[in-house]
């Protein structure tokens, strides 16, 4: 059954859009995008990651327009992104260059450089802080000056210099616990330019996972750990920090020193360790580690960890588990695709439904006719 065009709803639609605006405005409070940018860091990061577009100001605007609804905000940003020209592709970003703000390992207590907690909710009591309802600009300024004063004191005591934080994986590779690897500089595929086909490439899988809907990625990874998968992951290293971005000159052939620095972006990186028994010579078995990789925009730790879990699942296809099936995972975690499809069920399906209703009526009428014939006989 195909679709047919109907009309007659124009005025109702116009009034509905006005009503939507009324719902956003009727409390007569103007929410400034600067306030969203300053105070809704988690939501901004989630929306930038899922829309695959890094810009806090645009994310704040999308959140305002969408009244805080992430799926709508992501849709708005994806649509805006499609209107902009892609001017450059960055030079290869090496995550070892991250300016770290937080770095922990759940696998090794004494990692070189130490465990740096940074800003995290991990150790907070999840009790509502009613004092925030009375927060004022004065109280904020006072807290900030006290914090700066504390840090000045420490500065005099510590004289800490630049971080040099070696990666846990490099340490394990040096120890021979993970096999060494050469860089693979094969050009990645881009799912925004060419449609996904199966079997997918590793670059396609990672791109879809990093722009996946946070809840969907997390739920599937959780299912893996609960038994709908064949993994037992541990966080080898989790980092949050800023990655510098460089682009080359469009026409000049130059060395690394001739590239343009354009700024940095905050990201979360998770390197998940997955132990497995490797078959060796003469039937010997040895415990080795594989790595699941997660990287996403912003401070989005649950998503990065979940991405690392799913990355490793998809490296080991197994049709016994949906989480190891690339079609199942990759085709269902995109926010715009999944919410768009579910949402479209609200759109008029009168003809489709009427045809189904006709079938039911006809079947019923036929059954009644047969009953009548049987009764007569």
């Amino acid at each position: 059954m195909g679709y047919v065009a109907v009309k007659g709803g124009t005025q109702a639609i116009e009034e509905s859009i006005k009503r939507l605006k009324y719902e956003r405005l009727h409390k007569e409070q103007v929410l400034e995008t600067g306030q969203i940018e300053a105070g809704m860091r988690g939501l901004i990061d989630q929306v930038m990651s899922e829309s695959s577009l890094y810009n806090e100001k645009l994310a704040a605007l999308a959140i305002k327009q969408a009244e805080g609804n992430p799926e709508e905000a992501v849709f708005l940003l994806r649509a805006y992104r499609s209107t902009l020209p892609r001017k450059y592709c960055s030079n290869i970003i090496e995550t070892g260059e991250m300016k770290v703000e937080r770095r922990i390992s759940a696998s090794f207590k004494d990692i070189p450089g130490g465990q740096i907690l940074g800003a995290t909710t991990d150790y907070t009591h999840r009790l509502l802080d009613f004092n925030l309802m009375k927060e004022t600009e004065e109280s904020v300024s006072e807290w900030l000056s006290n914090y700066a004063l504390e840090n000045r004191t420490i500065e005099m005591l510590q004289h800490a210099s630049e971080f040099v934080l070696p990666k846990v994986l490099d340490y394990l590779r040096k120890e021979g616990l993970i096999p060494p690897l050469e860089n693979n500089d094969a050009e990645p595929d881009d799912v925004t330019r060419e449609s996904l086909e199966f079997p997918s490439s590793r670059s396609q899988r990672l791109q879809i996972l990093t722009r996946g809907e946070t809840g969907a990625v997390t739920s599937l990874a959780y299912a893996v750990i609960r038994g709908y998968g064949a993994l037992h992951p541990t966080v080898g290293e989790l980092r949050v920090g800023n990655l510098p971005i460089y682009v080359g000159h469009p026409n000049e052939e130059g060395n690394d020193e001739d590239e343009y620095y354009i700024g940095d972006i905050k990201t979360t990186e998770a390197e998940m360790l997955m132990p497995f028994m490797a078959e060796k010579e003469k039937g010997k078995k040895e415990l080795e580690f594989e790595i699941g990789y997660g990287l996403c925009f912003g401070q989005n730790e649950t998503k990065a960890i979940a991405m690392g879990i799913l990355d490793n699942c998809l490296e080991h296809p197994d049709n016994s588990f949906p989480s190891h099936n690339e079609e199942f995972v990759l085709l269902h975690i995109d926010s715009v695709e999944s919410t768009g499809f579910i949402s479209h069920l609200k759109m008029p399906h009168y003809v489709t439904f009427q045809s189904k209703l006709d079938s039911v009526r006809k079947t019923k009428a036929k059954a009644e006719e047969q009953e009548e014939v049987q009764a007569y006989e």
Binding site: N91, G114, E155, Q158
Partner: protein, 140 residues
């Protein structure tokens, strides 16, 4: 000073510095804008550390401008929506490409700005290092 270092200083440092250097060129030379500052995207190519292969992380919004000074075309490109800064960067880039005499003393000015940037980074790192865990083994 090479482009990589100077663009990092001009973007991470005070944007007033880029403005004053570009103004110096504008006062002595004719600057033609070949491309007005406009928004665009840069796709981010990242190396993952599991297989050391490459993938695309997503795109970042940038502002880009192209300006011509003394026959040399400079490019200004910066993350976010910074129209003035993109223009100033393009003028400075063209000045360096043309090896204009005005750029000679700039290395020293940029080094001073770098010092302030480094001090800020150091202070931030010190703040972050306050969250470093100091493990003690407990007697049980």
């Amino acid at each position: 000073m090479k482009r990589k270092q100077r663009t990092e200083i001009l973007i991470e440092g005070s944007h007033e510095l880029a403005k004053s250097l570009a103004n110096e060129i504008e006062q002595k030379y004719s600057v033609s804008v070949l491309q007005e500052p406009e928004q665009g995207l840069v796709m981010l190519k990242v190396r993952e550390t599991s297989r050391k292969s490459l993938f695309y992380l997503g795109e970042v919004l940038v502002t880009e401008c192209k300006a011509k000074v003394e026959g040399k075309i400079g490019i200004g490109i910066v993350k976010g929506d910074h129209q003035d800064l993109a223009y100033h960067l393009a003028v400075i880039d063209a000045a360096f490409l043309g090896d204009l005499p005005e750029t000679k003393p700039w290395a020293g000015i940029l080094e001073i700005e770098k010092y302030y940037i480094d001090q800020k980074r150091k202070a931030k790192n010190e703040e972050i290092l306050r969250t470093k865990v100091s493990f003690e083994t407990m007697d049980v």
